[in-house]
Symmetry: C2
């Protein structure tokens, strides 16, 4: 029996007051939460009043693209989507991408920051084939006890416009990749109905989830939100469909945002925002008020698309919260909830949260309140994954 | 004779390649830069290849408002300018503001992050009077050898709309406050010509600089940029006038941005952007291409306006750079230059920079290139102010 007793922390439950409690972990799950717990055989850690939060969820990143921990590579991608795609494909070979080592470096940083669950898009096209899947799976295997990694078969170079890609996406799903991706069905691929036919068809055939990158702005983006919601309703895939980035959502007038959020909630379509650069952020309060699914991710990190990023999911929650002008504690807690419980729901994580019976994925920080933890982004003093201590004071624990 | 030899660092000069060199500091100034320097009596620090950057300049903050280092205060300001102003004034007494202790806490954090020069706005109105000036001066005195602090007499509650304020602003200038502030001459104060009459009149009378908060958006903001440029030309105050925030600048079409930037450059008016929340950022490349003055600041930090902020100026340069989608190394270096040389020029700092004869205000970080330093925001391993080591490894050196 493997026991860990976390003494004197302050576990957070969304919407509830934070109070001091001990947490007893047994065989990877939370066995008890309450004051004055004892366990003779348990390893004991004194949390000294630290705030305890459930493991962070990075619901949108690109592990196959990263050069994290490698030498500095000046960015030559420019500012257009097409230019970045061309740059990403053109230089990946010379730079040794996709790389299990770089992906592993990044996963180590994510774990050190308290991230317990990751969804990573993996570029698939006729040139790279499924090598990204192999590289990221190899990296994830090195950290198998520290973090759970879910993959998206992602047609970064286009789907209909890139002959041979659909077959490769299907091959990825056939060998167990959990989610099928999409990319601007209208603005990049030029045939929204056609792209959705392929994606939703593959999702139904393989029982996969769906996660569509949607950078299209304004009316074109908003129209596709409704198109995707309608298709989700028609296929019975409610709860398994995600629109990533969804820049247009941040541009709509407030009443349009509300209407779309309600449509998404009713259809079972979630959104992910990454607060990248100056791109519009999906409005947190509007999504939450409508009951629509919402999660966050770090997006690209130190890759051929962007030189920025550090993999710190708590800092990314702060960034979304800062960009979305969440200022009251209750508002900032909405963002924290999206970066934890929201991400877990979107990824379909079972038994998530700080509750008896849940998987013991959690971390501790020195912060007065949950909102203060988001704002100040403190060092993660302790990170626990399935009951095991995987990081301390911002550094990975290696066995 | 007080000597410090910094051995084996890589000092940065904008636009030049970074090469290993020693830096000999004597009596607070850079005496020599080059390979293989020796000095028998000097304290020697081995920089081991660290990048050396000139001291950061926080050209826009509000030291009088901060509650940095104090207990967490949930924000009740909301999202409108008027709401924040009312909240800020309404709660400052109960919270012990303005506070020399909080301002001192924040200055300590700024210094630890490599900031050498600060311009702080100080709220002045008939209720608070000049108490903010006193508090921040007291805080600055505690850190007198660590950082230089310049004050702006700022009519946060309005100027024409707040009888009695103009007299207090004048009193502040009369007793040595260096800069006269303004606040949305049209959108908040309702009489742009009237507010500029007062501000420019006081600046001429007391030889003060001018720094006007301009939140007004769209055409109203853009019109005031031209109004301020015209007034600057008419008064001979070229080089001494700043527009802070200038949100409208980030909203204009590219050709309008260029035209305004050229107008500002020609009139000798600078801009400061803080990349606050979701507010538009002044376009770095456009301003620099036109030769217009540009600097950055942290704006409000842990105060009644915003719960966010940590005083780290390098991280703020990253935020501006990230928001403005600067991706190539040369672009990111433009932002670094604005946060150092640009700020120093705006504040009128004499003898600034990494050059022989300049004041020895500098810091060291572990980073491959200047762009990498901006992107990765590394711990400041060494901070030197006027030749004295004032922080190491992100912590203040106390004597």
């Amino acid at each position: 029996m493997n026991e860990l007793l976390l003494r004197g922390g302050r576990p957070w439950t969304p919407g509830a007051a934070v109070e001091v409690a001990d947490i007893l972990v047994r065989d990877g799950r939370i066995a008890e939460i309450g004051p004055g717990l004892t366990a003779d055989t348990a390893e004991t850690v004194d949390l000294a009043g630290a705030l305890v939060l459930p493991g962070l969820v990075d619901a949108h990143c690109h592990l196959d693209k990263t050069m994290f921990g490698g030498p500095w590579v000046p960015n030559t991608g420019g500012r257009t989507l097409a230019g970045r795609i061309a740059n990403g494909e053109g230089r990946r070979e010379e730079l040794g991408l996709p790389s299990a080592d770089y992906a592993s470096n990044l996963l180590a940083a994510m774990v050190s920051g308290g991230t317990a669950h990751v969804r990573s898009h993996i570029d698939i096209d006729p040139e790279v084939g499924l090598r990204g899947v192999e590289a990221v799976r190899a990296a994830a295997a090195r950290h198998a006890h520290r973090v759970d990694v879910q993959l998206v078969a992602f047609p970064q170079g286009g789907l209909l416009t890139r002959p041979g890609t659909a077959k490769l996406l299907e091959a990825a799903l056939a060998e167990g990749v959990e989610v099928i991706g999409g990319l601007d069905p209208a603005g990049y691929d030029g045939d929204p109905t056609g792209q959705l036919d392929v994606i939703f068809g593959l999702a139904e055939k393989y029982g996969a989830g769906i996660d569509i990158h949607l950078h299209d702005r304004g009316a074109l983006g908003a129209w596709q939100f409704e198109l995707i919601a309608a298709r989700t309703r028609a296929t019975g895939l409610a709860g398994r469909v995600t629109i990533s980035h969804a820049y247009a959502m941040g541009e709509l007038a407030p009443d349009e945002q509300r209407r779309i959020a309600e449509t998404l909630a009713e259809a079972g379509v979630s959104m992910i925002t990454c607060a990248v650069g100056d791109a519009p952020v999906v409005p947190v309060r509007v999504m939450r008020a409508a009951g629509a699914g919402l999660a966050f991710g770090n997006d690209g990190i130190r890759d051929l698309w962007t030189p920025y990023g550090d993999g710190d999911m708590l800092r990314r929650i702060m960034q979304v919260s800062f960009r979305d002008r969440l200022v009251a504690d209750a508002e900032i807690e909405l963002a924290l909830e999206a970066g934890t419980y929201g991400g877990a729901a979107l990824l379909g994580v079972a038994d998530y949260g700080l509750a008896v019976g849940a998987q013991a994925d959690l971390f501790a920080v020195s912060a007065e309140t949950p909102a203060a933890a988001v704002v100040s982004v403190p060092v993660r003093s302790l990170v626990v994954k399935r009951g095991r201590i995987v990081a301390r004071d911002g550094r990975l624990v290696t066995d």
